[in-house]
Symmetry: C2
Subunit: 79 residues, 2 copies
């Protein structure tokens, strides 16, 4: 089973990396860009298990390690 | 228009960050995890434009700045 996890900064949390990329895009001439936010994309390979159990495990991994839940949110898909 | 961009290391490229997270998950007791790969997730807000043009622009941004195409691949969705 494959888990695709997206970790993003919560709304209102300052994103200096996104700002730097935004400035770089503007200076390359991409004036259509009005905002950039940068997050993490994590792919986890899991052994065979029930979908239910996988959901529980991945949620636990996000809470404990993969996301800093004070400033970051997460969502994931299982395939 | 919103572009959701996923930048991932190409197959075969060593991913030390993914390895570190893998070890951390194992040491937390998540023994079901057999592989971890870490990439970037980028959200771009774009002004109003044709879907066609947006696709062209975002491809150009990925090629020029957002992905290092020697070692990274990218894909994106437009909403």
């Amino acid at each position: 089973m494959l888990a695709k996890i997206y970790v993003t900064l919560k709304k209102g949390v300052h994103d200096p990396q996104g700002e730097a990329v935004h400035h770089a895009l503007l200076s390359l001439g991409f004036r259509q860009v009005s905002d950039v936010r940068i997050g993490k994309y994590i792919e986890l390979k899991l052994g065979e298990m029930e979908r239910n159990e996988a959901e529980k495990k991945v949620t636990e991994m996000c809470q404990k390690l993969l996301a800093n839940t004070v400033i970051e949110g997460y969502r994931f898909e299982l395939e």
